[in-house]
């Protein structure tokens, strides 16, 4: 069983405006990209569990040329709310690293 952090060469997360977060997963090679591009292990339910977002609003956009998958979703609370811990969402990707991807 591989983890997300093992099959990607680079993962990053960033705010996309005040209300959205976007995570970019760059896979190690073409084979891993093809294998995991559409996996349910990165589906809306997983994003909901890790980020408390509405699963119906999760967007998943593969970019074949870059062997990467972009996952975008609304923040559970807008950027800068009183409980904010990560204004840029720059560390949000870290909780994905140990997700088992099959």
């Amino acid at each position: 069983m591989s983890k997300v952090g093992e099959v990607c060469r680079h993962i990053r997360s960033k705010n996309a405006g005040p209300f959205w977060v976007t995570i970019d997963l760059f896979f190690r090679n073409e084979e891993l990209y093809r294998r995991y591009r559409d996996t349910l292990a990165l589906g809306p339910e997983v994003i909901e569990r890790l980020y408390g977002t509405d699963p119906d609003l999760v967007k998943r956009l593969p970019v074949d040329a870059l062997r990467m998958v972009k996952i975008s979703f609304p923040r559970a609370k807008p950027q800068g709310w009183m409980g904010e811990r990560d204004m840029h969402a720059g560390q949000h990707y870290a909780r994905l690293l140990d997700v088992e991807i099959g």
Binding site: P18, D24, L61, V63, L66, P74, H88
Partner: protein, 468 residues
Amino acid sequence: MTQADRTPVTVLVPTGMLGAGLQRGHIRYGIASGAHVIAADSGSTDSGPSYLARGVSKMNRESIKRDLEILMDEAFKAKIPILIGTCGTSGTDSGVDWTRDIAIEVARNLGITPKIACLYSEQAPPDLVSKNRQGKITPLPPMGPVTDEVLESCEHIVALMGPEPYIAALQAGADIVLGGRTTDTAVLAAVPLLMGAGAGPAWHAAKIAECGGQCTVNPRTGGVLMRVGKDAFEIEPLDLDNQCSPESVSAHMLYESSDPYRLTEPGGVLDVTQADYRRLTPRVTRVTGSRWEPMPYTMKLEGARGGNFQTIMIIGIEDPEVLAHLNEFHDTLQRVLTDRIKTTFGDEASFFDLSLRLYGWNGTSGRPVPANTPPPRDVGVMLVITAPTQDLANRMAKACNPYFFHMPLRPGIELPSYAFPFTPAEIPRGQVYEFLLNHVVHTKDGLELVRTNWTDLSDASRKVLENV
């Protein structure tokens, strides 16, 4: 025949953010390479709602001044215009005026007399209430329709401008255009669109260049040049040792955008689904296949306001027993401090929030730590108290003080003292600000909601001479 039919329109993008620092040599290289304009962005919502709610710049004055000095000096000698978008971080009217005053000071120091156009796109809440009642304000996901009360409660609301006001200012003879809130791309696309470049390549090049060197192989070394033609554009770094590779350029479409293929802008959508990125030279990438789909004109709205206040306190812990039982420690401390505030403040504590963040354990995410995670060597604990006034948040922190610094892990243990670094220990942090709008306003064109003011320093210098 337009300029773009003969040769591409060249835009010098000196930096992703005015004030971040730039090298004069890069600017000279870009101008020597035929730049028709210098265009840069000076703002963002990335740093949170505080700057918009207060109408204050994130960047310090000295950094803006130094970058403007270099740009204005070189642009004046080369007789090319400068466009700056989203002045003062959030692009409020106050941010535009702040930047204009710095530009005037720089012009005087350099002994130059530019004609400066200021573009204002801050909106008065009553005007937007009226637009809302006409059904001309619509939400973007995940928001619902906006109420009049929310619009009226915003301390500042700005509308994101497209390129039209910049084009109009240049046509009226501006040497420098200082814009309020503008999409990053519109500032960069304005001159290519004015000079007849293709709309698809102009907007796509602008999206790629919006963060300066971010689309290069070494993002820390300077900005880029974009050369925009009818059907293609090229992107080149300003630093001779840097490169724009097909991968570094195409990857920038992903950055900070929720959709890497389609980008909604004022008056249309950029579609790069069919874009092709090819290496032209070792340093330059050429892009074809960018498409622009005109749409009815909309401007995105951003609004923010201040709310509650916070006071924080910080301790460090190296005690092995506490570190071995951090979840238990967190939960006990949370309960003890919450009870302390409730019993001490009674009705005055009808609203407050108390948050403990254990840095070195799970402070960054606040999420549960997997079972069997070994204890850390050291944790920093930040206590954040939120209350309706700064005074109340301060008093609540003071009430927590003896418990936060001395709470034993379990009853019966000798009173510990955790490491606190400051005296006084409580730190008034200020107000909590919030973004309230994620909506668009439908307008008849790109100019309807924009006001332009002129500062002609050549007039001013004539008047001074006449008065002598």
